[in-house]
């Protein structure tokens, strides 16, 4: 009887613990700003002395989704040196259904944008002539807003660290 009671008590504690952990995750309120040229220019140029790490991704892009947890880790490691931002190229109407739930699940506590350019090619040309349109794409800007790195395709955590370290010396 005593053992049964203890088991019940610990199960109760476990459930409460899990609930609290879950609610902490839910408390991260993710906002996603629709970004056209004006919003992206502001993000890139208003640097306040920090570098910018910008990752362009989509929920339908498997390598993007696979590398995202590493980007979240990097955002914690380099929070003093770099601002982190993500730009989703999902359809605008998928913001609430797909983009925000994914970013919430990732617990990605940095700035988030979604492509608001009228045509995809306009965003590609705005970002760089060297970009083929393949995602994921990661860019690093210096504190004056100058693009100093363009990484097309998925990268590992260590590759990102190496690129950040070499770009921000």
């Amino acid at each position: 009887m005593k053992i049964g009671f203890l088991l019940l008590f610990f199960s109760f504690l476990l459930i409460i613990g899990c609930k609290n952990e879950g609610s902490n995750q839910e408390n991260v309120k993710i906002e996603v700003i629709t970004a056209g040229e004006k919003e992206l220019s502001e993000l890139i140029n208003n640097r306040n002395g920090k570098y910018l790490f910008l990752n362009i991704w989509a929920t339908w892009c498997i390598p993007c989704v696979e590398e995202f947890p590493d980007i979240v880790k990097l955002s914690e490691k380099y929070s003093e040196k770099l601002d982190f931002a993500s730009l989703s190229i999902d359809y605008l109407e998928e913001k609430d259904k797909k983009v925000i739930p994914f970013l919430t699940k990732m617990n990605a506590k940095f700035s988030h944008y979604i492509n608001g350019f009228k045509k995809d090619e306009m965003l590609i040309n705005f970002i760089s002539e060297d970009w083929s349109g393949a995602v994921p794409l990661t860019l690093i800007y210096d504190s004056s807003g100058k693009q100093i790195a363009l990484l097309e395709g998925a990268h590992t955590y260590d590759e990102f660290v190496e690129k950040i370290e070499s770009s921000t010396k």
């Binding site: 498997i62 390598p63 190229i89 045509k119 590609i124 349109g133 590759e159």
Partner: protein, 194 residues
Amino acid sequence: MFKKTALLLLLMLVTNISFANLPKSEDVKKGAEFTLPDYNGKTHSLSDYKKSKAIVVMFIATQCPISNDYNTRMAKIYQDYKSKDIAFIGINSNKQESVEEIKKHSADNNFGFPVLKDNENIIADKYAAKVTPEIFVLNGKYEILYHGRIDDSRKEAEVEVNDLRNTLDEILAGKKVSNPTTKAFGCTIKRVSK
């Protein structure tokens, strides 16, 4: 534990998709010859089609939502131009998409044109193809007359410029292709590590 770590390391290597080893797109001026099997095992060579007025080489996928957004449009373009002596070849270079999957996908979408399996993405590497869908239009000398997207919107209802159709119409009219390079979003081709 060792097994798990080794597996993880292997997975990291295999899933690392970087384009660092590819030639630059602008440096690829000519289409490379290839001989690849279709989903029935029949081989197709680029040279089989060199007498056509143009050869449309399309890097496509079965699982990529962007490529799949274009399935109906690709089938329609093929139907509209096949009788005009334009050849169409689909190439699947994604390592995770099997021949059986390609066969079913082609049948489900009534493609009509052959879809070839590019094992180990050898041909994608030669063309420096990065995404799906990605189009190359070649002449009989394999010169690249057009490289880029099918049209300017993933959403068919919002298309304003039909780049591939415009290219083919210009070729058929004996004109110079007016917009030989375009860009669009696409799913990265999943490559094997080399």
